[in-house]
């Protein structure tokens, strides 16, 4: 009998001996202090995604992901001004709208295909206003003060809450408060600042028809004041630069030459139809319109030309906002020029790029002057043009299939946020000799195919 027991003990010992131990990761804060973290910025910081601000989008915001890692080195509670709805509230062309989800949609030709469709059931306009009008200020102060839609200098504008309900809903007094005033309430020991995207983006998203690019001196002045306030109590932090618009699917999804003609009769009809206009164009020695079998540049409106239209040139951009049914069924881009609000022309792109470059020079200068970690998001997002692989999954800037951007083509999805959070962590670790662990990207929700 005794021998039997001995055998059992031996077998038991064999089983338990069999989980190899590896030293655990040892997180450390290095020269920084992550006790109180404040995230300042725009929609990207707020957790806006899929064209709206909604609960789980906020939960998966990059600041909230970072705060989870800061907790490992004594980071405190991270409070966000949570939206009360998963349907979301976003700003669309025709008023407020819900978030987008991936679903089946039928186009004007009767073809069913997979694409972004509104969340179902979508709230009505009154409900949207209700969500935005309900103040959550009592839950504050907030560690995430990202406000969708704001430009750099808006952070210093008194009464911003009246113009921007996303701030209005968490400002103590929306009629007088400045966003920058929230900093003192939190008194951060560490901050992240990603601001300035909208200083070019609001212009770019409207095809250059609305708004204007913030002049560099105004941007720089605003950023000086903001960084000055953030670092007033010797807080350390990370500052993020502005990605080129060309890194986002919103500007790269529709090719300039997606007018594909497969029928000789269509080619002839278009050339015949534009013949009278080409006579006029020739008188001005302008570029005539010509069509051939295969891929053709779209016809776009151009108010700078006396005759009002031309074919788009390589390098010019058609925006994701273009109503695709109008291309498919209403002759947009062929018989009808695409309206200016859906196109970025070469001179507009050049102005946007010049401003982005100037802003980024300023941001790099601030990082240097205040000894902040510089998160070079501009260079980093460019690496996703061809795709980057993490843990066996490829992520690229391709719309929907790329798995990095949300369905609005501008903001990141949760995995995208996790990817950039890891990039923040690398920059923070390097700058402050800290040892913060990265997050597991695929533990965050990706694009969910239905």
């Amino acid at each position: 009998m005794k021998k039997k027991y001995l055998l059992y003990i031996l077998v038991l010992a064999l089983f338990t001996a069999c989980e190899p131990k590896i030293d655990e990761f040892a997180p450390s804060e290095g020269d920084a202090d992550f006790t109180t973290y404040l995230a300042m910025g725009n929609s990207l910081t707020a957790g806006y995604a899929d064209g709206a601000l909604y609960t789980s989008g906020q939960t998966n915001s990059y600041p909230n992901i970072l705060a989870g890692q800061f907790e490992l080195v004594d980071g405190g509670t991270f409070t966000q001004p949570m939206m009360p709805t998963e349907a979301g509230v976003g700003v669309g062309d025709l008023g407020l709208r819900s978030k987008l989800v991936l679903g089946m949609a039928i186009d004007c030709l009767g073809t069913t295909s997979l694409g972004p469709v509104p969340f179902d059931p979508a709230p009505d306009q009154l409900e949207y206003y209700g969500y935005l009008a309900t103040s959550v200020a009592a839950d504050g102060p907030f560690n995430n003060i990202g406000v969708p839609g704001i430009k750099s200098f808006h952070a210093l504008a008194p009464g911003l809450g009246l113009l921007n309900p996303y701030f209005g809903r968490f400002a103590a007094d929306p009629t007088t408060d400045m966003l920058i005033g929230e900093v003192a309430k939190v008194n951060p020991t560490f901050f992240t600042l990603w601001l300035g995207n909208n200083d070019v983006l609001t212009y770019a998203l409207s095809g250059g028809t609305l708004d204007s690019i913030t002049p560099e001196p105004i941007f720089s002045g605003a950023m000086d004041a903001i960084v000055g306030t953030l670092t007033a109590n010797d807080a350390k932090g990370a500052i993020v630069n502005i990605p080129d618009i060309g890194t986002t699917p919103y500007f790269t999804t529709v090719p300039y030459n997606a007018l594909v003609l497969t029928d000789e009769a269509d080619v002839a009809a278009l050339n015949y139809g534009y013949a009278p206009l080409n006579v006029i164009i020739n008188q001005y020695e302008g570029d005539t319109l010509a069509f051939k079998l295969g891929a053709n540049p779209f016809v776009i409106a151009d108010a700078s030309l006396a005759w009002g239209m031309r074919q788009i040139k390589p390098g010019e951009l058609i925006l994701l906002s273009i109503p695709q049914d109008s291309i498919k069924c209403a002759g947009w881009g062929s018989m009808v020029p695409i309206p200016e609000q859906y196109v970025l022309k070469a001179d507009q792109i050049a102005a946007i790029e010049a401003a982005t470059e100037a802003y980024n020079a300023k941001i790099a200068g601030l990082a240097d002057a205040f000894s902040l970690a510089l998160v070079d998001m501009n260079s980093y997002l460019k690496e996703f043009e061809t795709g980057m692989v993490f843990d066996g999954a490829t992520y690229s800037a391709q719309f929907v299939l790329g798995g990095l951007f949300s369905l609005d083509g501008i903001h990141l999805n949760p995995r995208g946020n996790a990817i950039i959070a890891n990039h923040f962590i690398d920059a923070i670790n390097a700058k402050y000799n800290a040892n913060l662990p990265q997050v597991i990207i695929q533990d965050y929700p990706g694009i969910q195919f239905p």
Partner: protein
């Protein structure tokens, strides 16, 4: 005698019916498993320079005709308790495998036809690998679980040229099957199951030399066996919206090589009861260059070429045996088994690290013709930082294995 035979046969059938269920866990050296005889396992898995009866069919067919008994049967099995811990680089993430008990087994039967000519057959399991990670672990897009197994059947002829030298050859008929699961990044439930079985052939050649009474030398060459899988089943669990792009049921072909081995061993009888032995195994792992899947439908999108870039490696083994009395023989050994994997192409499907291991064993002879062989193998945990660059998946792996084994040998 008759009942004993019957019992033996029962055990054999029992073992063979288990075949359908058995799995092996890799504990070293790629996915090779050399636990093909408990006596040999006890002496650091040295086998070439010994004439331990019918198990020479695997270790050295040349030594088979040197066996003393007229007829010898051996059967046995081991239990591989092995697990892996993974620490993902730059994160505080750790994962552990939950590997099932691996049970490689062997059966050998050999009979002297004449004094010089011996024939036999062996059924053994020289290759196999099981890794079972959690379905939602960080490496799920590389592998969730894999089970790879091979059973070799080897009819063998051995001829004793003189008391000093004998040679042998075996024909190998190999049966293999593989099943693996991995997640796909389309939504939270997307995955693919790949399953197939195949067979192949190979050979095993050996020579056994006994220049003086105290010294024996064995040389053995086991050919590579390439498992060509055709018409394997691939079942994709994918979102409905992608069902037109990726067919749910697909067929695949793939090829998995099992490498050749060249073994050279020496055994020296220091006293009548005390023997020391050493062996080197040169394993031609470089044949495992990549694992490529070709799919019948939608191959353009699904086909994958996965570099493995294994390198040839040499295993060094030392061991000894001491005959305590007529009933008991004790064994001890150890070996160093360097990993054939490439540090930049190291996948969690086969976690093979440089391994140092110790072995112990004994034989108990309750009656004259019966040996009960017990072995125990213990690997020292080894820890290595590796990466699978194509997937950008890197971290530190640590493995540990304990392997008890039991076998019997019967002469008549």
């Amino acid at each position: 005698m008759q009942t004993q035979k019957l019992n033996l046969m029962k055990k054999i059938t029992l073992l063979l019916t288990l075949v359908a269920m058995v799995t092996w866990s890799a504990f070293a050296g790629g996915f090779q498993v050399r636990l093909q005889g408990q006596k040999q396992t006890g002496i650091g898995l040295i086998g070439t320079p010994f004439s331990f009866g019918a198990s020479s069919i695997f270790y050295n067919p040349g030594a088979l005709s040197m066996m003393k008994a007229k007829t010898n049967f051996q059967l046995g099995a081991s239990g591989i308790l092995s697990n892996v811990t993974f620490q993902k680089s730059a994160t505080n993430y750790q994962a552990h495998t939950d590997n099932p008990l691996g049970t490689p087994f062997y059966f050998y039967g050999a009979r002297k036809v004449t004094d010089n000519l011996t024939v036999g057959v062996g059924v053994y399991t020289p290759f196999g690998s099981t890794s079972k990670w959690d379905d939602d672990w960080a490496g799920r897009f590389l592998i969730q679980n894999i089970s790879l197994k091979a059973i070799f059947i080897q009819p063998t002829v051995s001829y004793k040229i003189s008391d000093m030298i004998s040679v042998g050859a075996g024909f190998v008929y190999a049966m293999g099957d593989v099943e693996l699961n991995k997640a796909l990044p389309y939504n939270n439930n997307s995955s693919v199951n790949i399953k197939g079985s195949t067979n192949s052939i190979g050979y095993n050649l050996g020579i056994y030399i006994k220049p003086i009474e105290e010294l024996s030398i064995g040389i053995d060459y086991r050919s590579k066996v390439v498992m060509e899988m055709e018409e394997g089943d691939a079942v994709f669990t994918i979102p409905a919206s992608l069902s037109t792009t990726i067919p749910e049921n697909n067929k695949f072909s793939a090829s998995l090589p099992m490498p050749a081995n060249l073994d050279v061993g020496f055994a020296y009888q220091i006293t009548e009861d005390f023997m020391l032995a050493a062996e080197i195994n040169y394993v031609f792992w470089s044949v495992y260059d990549s694992l490529n899947f070709t799919f019948e439908e939608n191959g353009e999108m699904l086909n994958s070429n996965n570099p493995r870039l294994y390198e040839n490696k040499m295993i060094i083994r030392l061991g000894g045996q001491y005959k305590l009395n007529d009933n008991f023989t004790l064994r001890v050994g150890g070996y160093y088994d360097p990993s054939p994997t490439n540090e930049d192409y190291f996948t969690p499907e086969t976690v093979s690290l440089n391994t140092i291991a110790f072995t112990f064993g004994f034989t108990y002879m309750p009656i004259k013709n019966l040996c009960i062989d017990v072995s125990y193998l213990h690997t020292l945990g080894s820890e290595t930082a590796n990466s699978y660059d194509p997937a950008n998946f890197s971290g530190t792996y640590k493995t540990q294995a304990v392997i008890p084994g039991l076998g019997i040998s019967y002469n008549f």
